[in-house]
């Protein structure tokens, strides 16, 4: 069980050696599940070592739960094998699709917020949770396009998904912020849809501004606006295990630890306020 006050970082290959040498005080480590869909070898050994030293969160990016034609059962079987092998503390995936008609885009494409999409996601999350024999967390994704004909808000859909399936939510505040800017929405309105018990984890990351909107690049420090949003989310919904997500232009380990330290101090402050 990861403490609600825990802050973690993504464990990425350039930092493997340093993390094991220094054993920094972190609440948990998160890895992309698919990087460990392997039978054995050096990567698996690293994950097993990490598992012995830290709580582990397996974050999936390739299951494509929202593919309307089919769920990738083979992918689910690989995830199931990894979960059985590692016994992680958290398992998460996304409210997204990435493949249709046998073609995979290896991306997290947004779903429309319709009853049809909600029903599909409920069926898929039920299937995954029964295969893994545990609840999973579902994350809100960043988006660059929005659909016509939405029948509810994105977070209304996520909250209903959590109520119907018993899954938790992985609240990505950078994605929420990116979408709020890209589509002119109020990010705080989304928080009103959620209850503290629904949230299993929070993601914080950096993004990049371009002339067509904000792009979720995970390649910079968390910006001031997202830190404010985090502060507000902690105040309203209490602290939850929080991950600093950084995937491109990876900085030194110290930069990640510094960001995780900021998250931990914000969470601790909100805990005092909640007490």
């Amino acid at each position: 069980m990861i403490s609600n006050l825990a802050a973690g970082i993504g464990l990425r290959q350039p930092h493997y050696g340093e993390v094991f040498e220094r054993r920094p005080a972190l609440g948990f480590l998160e890895v992309h599940s698919e990087n460990f869909f392997l039978d054995g070898g050096a990567s698996m050994r690293v994950l097993e070592r990490a598992r012995a030293a830290y709580p582990i969160s397996l974050h999936g990016v390739g299951l494509s739960l929202g593919s309307a034609d089919a769920l990738a059962e083979q992918h689910l079987a690989k995830l199931q094998r990894l979960v059985e092998r590692i016994e992680p503390d958290l398992v998460s995936e996304h409210l997204s699709w990435g493949a249709v008609g046998g073609r995979h885009f290896n991306d997290l494409l947004p779903l429309p917020s319709t009853r049809e999409a909600l029903d599909l996601m409920c069926a898929r999350v039920d299937r995954v949770q029964s295969a893994l024999k545990r609840p999973i967390l579902i994350e809100n994704v960043s988006a660059y396009v929005a659909y016509r004909g939405n029948e509810m808000s994105e977070f209304g859909l996520l909250a209903e998904l959590a109520r119907r399936t018993g899954c938790g939510l992985l609240l990505d505040l950078n994605n929420l912020y990116v979408n709020a800017v890209n589509f002119g929405l109020d990010p705080l309105a989304a928080l009103n849809e959620l209850t503290p018990a629904m949230i299993g984890e929070i993601h914080l990351a950096g993004h990049t501004g371009t002339d067509v909107g904000l792009i979720d690049t995970h390649g910079t420090r968390v910006c001031a606006d997202v830190w404010s949003l985090y502060d507000e989310a902690c105040r309203r919904l209490g602290p939850h295990p929080t991950l600093i997500e950084w995937d491109t232009d990876l900085p030194t380990l110290d930069v990640l630890l510094d960001e995780a330290g900021i998250a931990a101090s914000v969470a601790a402050r909100s805990e005092v306020a909640h007490a």
Binding site: A42, V100, F105, V212
Partner: protein
């Protein structure tokens, strides 16, 4: 057809082909021109994921071509052999075939074989860990049975034959290589790709060794595989080869049941 499936098909069509953007845009709110530009972000994401996954499996080819040419190869790969899996470890299996028909493969004719070598190394990296093998199990067998046993090879073991010196090319591109960079282009090489512990090892093997390993990997018993090796190279030394392969745990068990081809 339900809306969501139709919507996903239309967006997928637009991501594969910019001329199909209008099909996607009709599902979207907001300014059509802006939406077309934002669809390009998704196309770039898929291109970046493809390039990164191919680069992870083919680090030597990426070095040989340089980042710009490699990105072009990745773009062409995506068009010719699109991803079918959310597991990016699987992406790249067709690179040798794609390279063979690509102008880059025509100007660098060794590139397709180098791709086969790197794909074998990529598969070996994540193969199951071999259990330790006590070679006394062989010595304890009656002499007449020793020729009929078959070897179990460590997961990921593969042979890649080329008319180019692919092992040498592979080796001089490894991180930390500090020897001289000359390549003798007059000879081909057979690469043995094998996991040795957690490390992926690549060795050049000669004709007799290659014939034995190929036959044994295909399931032939030791005696038959050794005959093939001797036919290839009268000086083939089975004892030396087995000592090496068993010590390195590349041969990791024996079957002494009847051989069923």
């Amino acid at each position: 057809m339900p809306d969501l499936l139709a919507c996903e098909h239309d967006i997928a069509g637009a991501l594969c082909d910019t001329r199909e953007s209008a099909r996607a845009v009709r599902w979207l709110t907001g300014d059509a021109a802006l939406n077309e530009r934002r669809l390009a972000i998704y196309r770039a994401n898929t291109a970046a994921a493809t390039t990164k996954a191919l680069g992870a499996a083919y680090p030597v080819i990426e070095q040989v071509l340089g980042p710009s040419a490699f990105a072009i190869l990745a773009r062409d790969y995506q068009r010719l052999a699109p991803s079918t899996s959310g597991d990016l470890n699987e992406l790249g299996a067709a690179l040798a075939d794609v390279v063979a028909g690509h102008e880059m493969g025509q100007s660098l004719p060794y590139l397709a074989d180098l791709a086969r070598l790197e794909w074998a190394a990529h598969r070996a990296y994540g193969a199951a860990d071999a259990l330790p093998f006590d070679a006394r199990a062989i010595a304890q067998l009656p002499a007449q049975q020793q020729a009929t046993i078959r070897f179990v090879w460590a997961g990921g073991t593969a042979l890649v034959a080329s008319r180019f010196p692919i092992v040498r090319i592979w080796r001089i591109h490894q991180a930390g290589f500090d020897g001289e960079f000359s390549v003798d282009w007059s000879t081909g090489e057979v690469a043995l790709v094998a996991r040795e512990g957690l490390r992926v090892a690549v060795h050049a093997v000669d004709g007799g060794d290659a014939a034995f390993i190929a036959a044994s990997l295909a399931g032939e018993p030791v005696g038959a595989a050794a005959e093939r090796a001797l036919a290839n190279d009268a000086g083939f030394d089975l004892g030396r080869l087995l000592t090496w392969l068993i010590t390195a745990n590349v041969i990791c068990a024996i079957h002494n049941s009847e051989w069923e081809p």
